[in-house]
């Protein structure tokens, strides 16, 4: 499903080159639930961004759902994201000017099939029936993240990338979100890539890839 080959990402900052990821090669199978863990600054989020095609590597390549990302232009990658990829972010990243329902509808609007019933169904799945017309600012953090989950699953993505999805939530709410995520994962057969530094959360994944200073230091499957 996802493959990366000798992936390296170097940033130039203040005239100095800073290698954030070094030579990462890995493969994630379809339907798998994989956690990427490591301390802050270890390159987790950078790796996620590269795997999702949000950023271009300095060298190396990524194949996502059968597409060589470096052979696609920015629009091509955007189209791929719209059709095959879902995101959940630490800071929810809902569009503040849109209601919960409208936020969930965005991926469908992008593919030209705004299926309101489907969006409503997903909102109900995440326990937000009746809150469809609330704006993000009228929802609690947990509720916002549930909207984000509904949005991530609404276009039935092949891959779901989650970046510290519980980072901004209290423990109990975080728990609910993770449960929801794995339920949806099971229900839709989505490949799940989760970046976290929360061991409890990582424990839910079948495979854990540990990064330190931009390198894979362990890769364990249970």
């Amino acid at each position: 499903m996802i493959e990366c080959n000798q992936l390296t990402r170097t940033y130039t900052s203040g005239g100095r080159a800073l290698t954030v990821l070094k030579d990462i090669t890995l493969r994630i199978d379809a339907g798998a639930f994989t956690a990427i863990v490591g301390p802050s600054g270890s390159g987790k989020t950078t790796l996620l961004g590269l795997l999702a095609g949000l950023d271009a590597p300095t060298s190396g390549s990524v194949t996502l759902d059968g597409h060589q990302l470096n052979q696609l232009d920015e629009d091509g990658r955007a189209r791929l994201r719209a059709e095959r990829v879902g995101f959940v972010f630490q800071s929810f990243q809902l569009i503040p000017t849109l209601t919960a329902l409208e936020n969930v509808l965005v991926p469908l609007e992008l593919s030209g099939e705004p299926d309101v019933a489907r969006a409503l169904g997903l909102l109900s799945d995440v326990g937000l029936a009746g809150r469809e017309h609330h704006y993000p600012s009228q929802l609690s953090g947990g509720e916002q993240q549930r909207v984000a989950l509904a949005r991530a699953f609404v276009n039935q993505p092949a891959v779901l990338f989650a970046d510290e999805p519980t980072g901004n939530l209290d423990a109990r709410t975080g728990q609910t979100i993770v449960q929801l995520m794995s339920e949806l994962n099971r229900k839709h057969g989505t490949t799940l890539v989760l970046v976290t530094h929360d061991p409890a959360l990582a424990a839910l994944a079948r495979r854990t890839i540990r990064l330190t200073d931009g390198e894979v230091v362990s890769d364990t499957t249970t």
Binding site: R81, E83, T97, L98, P114
Partner: protein, 847 residues
């Protein structure tokens, strides 16, 4: 690209940014309103003129000439079926037999029947119909007031008296301003001779109105006869000619006012650019999320561009509605400047064009700040530390700039109706904006420096706000400054034009009474009356009427420049056709400057008479030093040679001449005299003309204070119309200002709450706002004043060729008013910041 997504998102996205985007729509609305008002007014005016053209002439055809109609004109009149009404129009003094004053009056002696089309409305209504019944007159109401008479009284005109039957309330083709120089009086044609006023030296227009018989084609007759009539210096006019001429004049007027209105629209465009810049800055996160969710750069760009265009259209609709309403008011400020009764129906076509123009303006001005949206990286949604817009040049910016410039120039050219004027206008705007942009840069630089200077805290904070990230200093200085500049330049120009003509201001010693058409035999008598009145007059100046017979031995052609002739080298044009009134003198006068050649200091020795010719006429005639001109002086040829070329300052009420002869040539030619006097006492100034008119009716007295008042009135009306349009620019500027205040509101609220928490009092918060906005307004005003002085000077020097004087007091106003306005708007927009408790504000800000 899926249009569904773009449209849906554009609509949903607009909902939440109502206030900010409303500014955008309002900024456009002001400009569209101005344009729709002007263009709607002009379009209605042209329709009205087209509808009323026949009524304006009152006839199918008219022939007119500066001298009695010649043989060709007579032959034409004899050949026509239908009815004819002869007329003679001239200026003469009228006075009430028992009154103490006299008034220069525009007299028309008119045959019965005219007008056949339209009607002259009088009070009482029957007056016009009874005009021909006896020695009657129908006059402008202002004549009654000037002479202190009423309907039923008699007025003296030349050697006879006429009874006033009524006053004119409305005449076709009436331009109210025309009667300001002299009220009109209509008398029956058959009593013209009884006045005895058409003797030598009288300036009169002779003519005939004609109603053609069935089936006659006015245009055809005019075309057939025009060349022959021109040889007699007679003109033939048709309804269509008049309509064309008026239509052109009105179009020019509309174009000019439209350009002023266009400024408002362009300022609105600047407002859009500024609003979009802020809008986009706040939407970067949303854009990054959308990109993350798979929207392409072009889709997101499309969302915000659509938003801008839709809001521009909305502004256009609002502006069109306001414009259609204002269009009802424009006739009020234009009264007496237009000759037709106005339709005030809504000009739908113009309104629609305004709506589209609003959308387009918003679009092209939004383009540049929006381009950045395409480049927002989706990674920004994932990582806070990523710069959402990667550095690097965007070639699309060049395209956007080109499109913007092209749009502005095209609009200007279309509105000017002339590419040269339009281009000049666009360049002028560019220069003014550049000046203001530089000034804004200076403001930011100064603010940076002063915010570290040892000033009160509130002042430093206020100044620091001018250069904080995301400041709107440039937009405000541009928008506010431009409106102020426009109004100031206008006021300065008007002032300078009027100063030249001032004969009644304090300390002015220029003559204010002119006496024309004095016969040689009357000269001593007139001087006697003036002496008796204790009035000192200037030395009388002789005038001899003459025409050009030949230039350099070649007979002149009376054809117009535009006509094609077998021999194109023949001298022609207005300078050839006109009647000259020349004088003789042995010295130059104060209003003249010798440019070339020598003045005659030695006495005349024979050969062709030496003449000095005015520069512009010499150029028009294509003659220079040493060239010969033969003049026709009342039928006698006089040979002359040009020995000098003069520049003349025409912009004064003084007898000036195109051609001055050396003494010893014209002394025996038929001549009239002009003398001028300074009479400070108004009673004397009105009594003297009365006395002179009674004894010598042919002598024309002109009270220059009346002329000055009339010109002031005319200029006042014209400038009122222009100022009215310029006001829209100021409104647009204020909208932009209000918009920028509104957009920086959230930030301001947060800051104020913080400052309140730290113990700032409301007064201190207000002081910060006042310092910030007053500084902005001050700089905008200062730059506007400087630009206005520059523009006013250039207009005075190159266009009007008059002296330029800046008016320090007015300029101080130009500087202070924007500052005060800006401070007011700032305080008003911040009013509830200080009314809330800090906690409330912080909570709200956090939401």
């Amino acid at each position: 690209m899926k249009p569904g997504f773009v449209l849906t998102m554009a609509r949903r996205e607009s909902r939440a940014s109502g206030r900010r985007l409303m500014t955008l729509a309002l900024a456009i609305a002001a400009g569209v309103a101005a344009l729709v008002a002007v263009n709607g007014f002009t379009s209605n005016l042209r329709t009205s003129v087209a509808r009323q053209a026949q009524a304006m002439l009152g006839a199918d055809l008219a022939i007119e000439s500066r001298s009695e109609l010649g043989t060709a004109a007579r032959a034409l009149l004899d050949s026509l079926d239908g009815e004819q009404a002869q007329y003679v129009a001239f200026s003469a003094m009228t006075y009430a037999p028992a009154g103490t004053t006299a008034r220069l009056t525009q007299v028309t002696a008119i045959g019965p029947c005219w007008p056949w089309y339209g009607a002259i409305r009088t009070s009482p209504m029957s007056a016009w119909g009874r005009l021909a019944d006896g020695r009657n007159a129908v006059v402008d109401p202002s004549l009654l007031r000037a002479l202190g008479v009423t309907v039923g009284d008699s007025i003296s005109l030349g050697e006879t008296r006429f009874q006033i039957l009524g006053t004119i309330t409305e005449a076709p083709g009436d331009v109210g301003i025309r009667s300001a120089l002299g009220p009109r009086a209509f008398i029956p044609f058959r009593y013209l001779d009884a006045t005895g006023l058409l003797g030598f030296g009288a300036r009169a227009e002779y003519g005939s109105y004609i109603q053609l018989g069935e089936g006659a084609d006015a245009q055809r007759i005019a075309a057939d006869w025009r060349p022959r009539l021109r040889e007699e210096r007679a003109r033939i006019r048709t309804v269509a000619d008049d309509q064309n001429r008026l239509d052109n004049a009105l179009t020019r007027l509309g174009n000019f006012l439209g350009l002023v209105a266009l400024v408002a629209l362009l300022l609105g465009g600047l407002g859009v650019a500024s609003a979009i810049t802020v809008h986009i800055r706040r939407r970067i996160d949303t854009v990054a999320i959308l990109r993350c969710l798979g929207a392409t750069g072009r889709q997101v760009f499309g969302v915000y561009l659509t938003q801008a265009a839709l809001l521009g259209l909305a502004g256009g609709v609002l502006g069109a509605v306001i414009g259609l309403l204002v269009q009802q008011v424009v006739p009020l400020v234009m009264t007496d400047l237009v000759p037709a009764e106005l339709d005030t129906g809504p000009a739908w076509g113009v309104a629609l064009a305004g709506v589209l123009l609003g959308g387009w303006t918003a679009l092209v001005f939004a383009l540049l700040p929006l381009l950045a949206v395409r480049r927002v990286t989706p990674l920004a949604a994932l990582r806070r530390d990523v710069d959402p817009i990667p550095a690097g040049r965007d070639p699309a910016r060049l395209v956007a700039i080109a499109l913007l410039v092209l749009s502005v120039v095209t609009l200007a050219v279309l509105q000017a109706g002339n590419w040269r004027v339009g281009l000049g206008f666009a360049v002028g705007i560019g220069i003014a904006l550049l000046g203001l942009r530089l000034a804004a840069g200076v403001v930011i630089g100064l603010a940076r420096r002063l915010s570290r200077a040892p000033l009160a805290y509130t002042s430093r904070q206020g100044l620091a706000n001018l250069q904080r990230p995301g400041n709107q200093t440039i937009a405000v200085v541009l928008a506010l400054g431009f409106g102020a500049f426009l109004l100031a330049a206008l006021a300065l120009t008007q002032h300078n034009l009027l100063a030249t003509l001032d004969v009644s201001g304090e300390g002015v010693t220029r003559p204010n009474l002119a006496l024309f058409d004095i016969q040689s035999s009357q000269l001593d008598g007139v001087r006697g009356v003036l002496d008796q009145g204790g009035v000192e007059a200037t030395a009388p100046v002789p005038m001899v009427p003459m025409r050009i017979a030949s230039v350099e031995g070649r007979a002149v052609s009376l054809a117009r420049r535009a006509d094609s002739l077998p021999d194109d080298s023949l001298p022609r044009g207005w300078a050839v056709r006109r009647e000259y009134r020349s004088t003789w003198r042995d010295t130059l006068v104060g209003s003249e400057k010798l440019l070339d050649g020598t003045w005659w200091d030695d006495p005349r020795t024979g050969g062709p008479a030496r003449i000095s010719i005015e520069r512009d006429v010499a150029q028009e005639l294509g003659v220079g030093l040493g060239d010969n001109i033969t003049w026709d002086v009342q039928g006698r040829p006089i040979e002359t040679r040009i020995t000098s070329i003069r520049e003349v300052d025409w912009a004064r009420f003084e007898p000036n001449f195109f051609v001055v002869f050396e003494p010893g040539v014209l002394e025996d030619a038929p001549q009239t005299w002009v003398t001028m006097a300074r009479v400070d006492d108004p009673a004397t100034r009105s009594r003297l003309p009365r006395q002179i008119a009674e004894q010598w009716p042919n002598v024309t007295s002109l009270d220059l204070t009346v002329v000055q008042a009339a010109i002031e009135d005319l200029l006042g009306r014209v400038s009122l119309a222009i100022r009215f349009m310029a006001l829209f620019s100021l409104v647009a500027g204020l909208v932009v200002l209000g918009g920028t205040v509104a957009t920086s509101r959230d930030q301001r609220i947060r800051e104020s709450a913080l400052l309140r928490t730290l113990g700032a009092r409301a007064g201190q918060l207000y002081r910060i706002v006042v310092v910030e906005y007053a500084a902005l307004g001050l700089m905008a005003g200062l730059t506007a004043a400087l630009l206005a002085v520059g523009a006013g000077w250039a207009l005075a020097r190159f266009l009007f060729e008059i002296d330029f004087a800046a008016r320090p007091l007015a300029l101080v106003l130009v500087i202070l008013v924007p500052a005060a306005l800006a401070a007011l708007v700032g305080v008003w927009a911040s009013r509830d910041v200080t009314h809330r408790t800090p906690l409330e504000t912080l909570r709200r800000a956090a939401e």
